[in-house]
């Protein structure tokens, strides 16, 4: 199967996972930012199906020279937008300075056909560093 070679703001979708959904899906449409991150960006996002389960690969990019922390989790939805799994635990991730890192994410159930990634950077504009409102 040939993967569509899309970059930038476009979401890479392998196979016919999202067949029938109207319009192009962008990375931005799959992200829920909790505040504006100053240094951490989602540089790429790939979705594909493995053994009936949705699998994601998210590429995070740290534009700063210092290590930066982010917190992330995924909301798993069916193709009508209903959430099909409990709220996930927030996961901390340390990104080394100027590094790009892939995060592999597997869906918990074959019912999951769509997703939203919730992202919160420790240093973002909404929750400045040291603020206890990080998850």
């Amino acid at each position: 199967m040939k993967r569509p070679a899309l970059t930038g703001a476009a979401l890479l979708l392998a196979g016919a996972l999202f067949a029938g959904s109207a319009g192009a899906q962008t990375i931005a449409s799959k992200l829920e930012h909790m505040g504006e991150s100053s240094h951490v960006q989602v540089a790429g996002l790939i979705a594909r199906e493995r053994n009936g389960f949705l699998a994601l690969q998210m590429e995070l990019k740290n534009t700063d020279n210092e290590p930066r922390r982010v917190f992330w989790r995924v909301k798993w939805l069916d193709d009508t937008g209903f959430q099909v799994w409990d709220e996930e635990a927030w996961k901390p991730l340390l990104l080394q300075g100027s590094a790009r890192q892939n995060v592999q994410i597997a869906a918990p159930t074959p019912k999951a056909r769509d997703f939203r990634i919730q992202l919160n950077a420790e240093d973002n504009a909404l929750f400045p560093s040291g603020n206890t409102q990080n998850p």
Binding site: G52, F53, F71, A89, P92, P108, P110, N134
Partner: protein, 202 residues
């Protein structure tokens, strides 16, 4: 199966007006002085560098999803039992709680079936004996002796830690390893690991 989706986009005008009118009279449905607060059970716990709720949640999630994806294509759901996860760290960790979470997530994913494990065997055999040997139950509808299913696979693992300290910081590294063994052949058919590093500055 026919499904019909109905979307609700916003509050109706009447509902919004009712909310505005009642807003000034709102009383929280709580009892007590307010010294107790409920928090977010899914939040990242950074109280100490000891094994915590976030570590348990991340390990269970990683292991359950790795296992579920590996066996999702199987013709029949594998029947497994959970043995021990040995705690080889220097701290107390309830490893049963980790395996309970893994089992729950695998059952919810619909990819595995679980046979009664060693911890649950006494309750299982007591109930079978009560239904068959006490003379209190109708034969019809009672659970029969000799019908229990043995597991095809056994899940077991280890959790280890390396702790290093100097004048400025304490570094704790955890490694959780899980494997699934084919009970008949004795071969290890699946294994995965999750590593966690936690550092505390003094």
């Amino acid at each position: 199966m026919n499904t019909r989706k109905t979307s609700f986009s916003s509050l109706g005008a009447a509902a919004a007006a009712a909310l505005l009118l009642s807003a000034c009279a709102t009383v929280s449905p709580t009892v007590g002085s307010g010294n107790v607060t409920y928090g977010d059970a899914k939040a990242v716990e950074q109280v100490t560098n000891q094994f915590g709720s976030t570590d348990l949640q991340m390990i269970a999630e990683t292991m359950a999803r790795s296992l579920a994806q590996s066996y999702a294509g199987a013709q029949t759901k594998p029947l497994v039992t959970i043995a021990d996860v040995k705690n080889k760290t220097s701290e107390f960790i309830d490893t049963r709680s980790i395996t309970d979470s893994i089992r729950t997530q695998l059952l919810k994913s619909g990819t595995f079936r679980f046979a009664t494990d060693i911890d649950g065997m006494k309750n299982q055999t007591d109930e079978l004996a009560r239904q068959n040997q006490s003379g209190l139950y109708k034969k019809q509808g009672s659970a029969k002796m000799g019908k229990m299913q043995g597991a095809q696979y056994r899940i077991e693992g280890n959790i280890t830690s390396i702790v290093k300290r100097n004048a400025d910081l304490t570094d704790v590294y955890y490694k959780f390893s899980l494997m699934m063994t084919d009970i008949e052949s004795g071969t290890i058919d699946w294994a995965d690991e999750k590593e966690i590093r936690k550092t505390t500055r003094r």
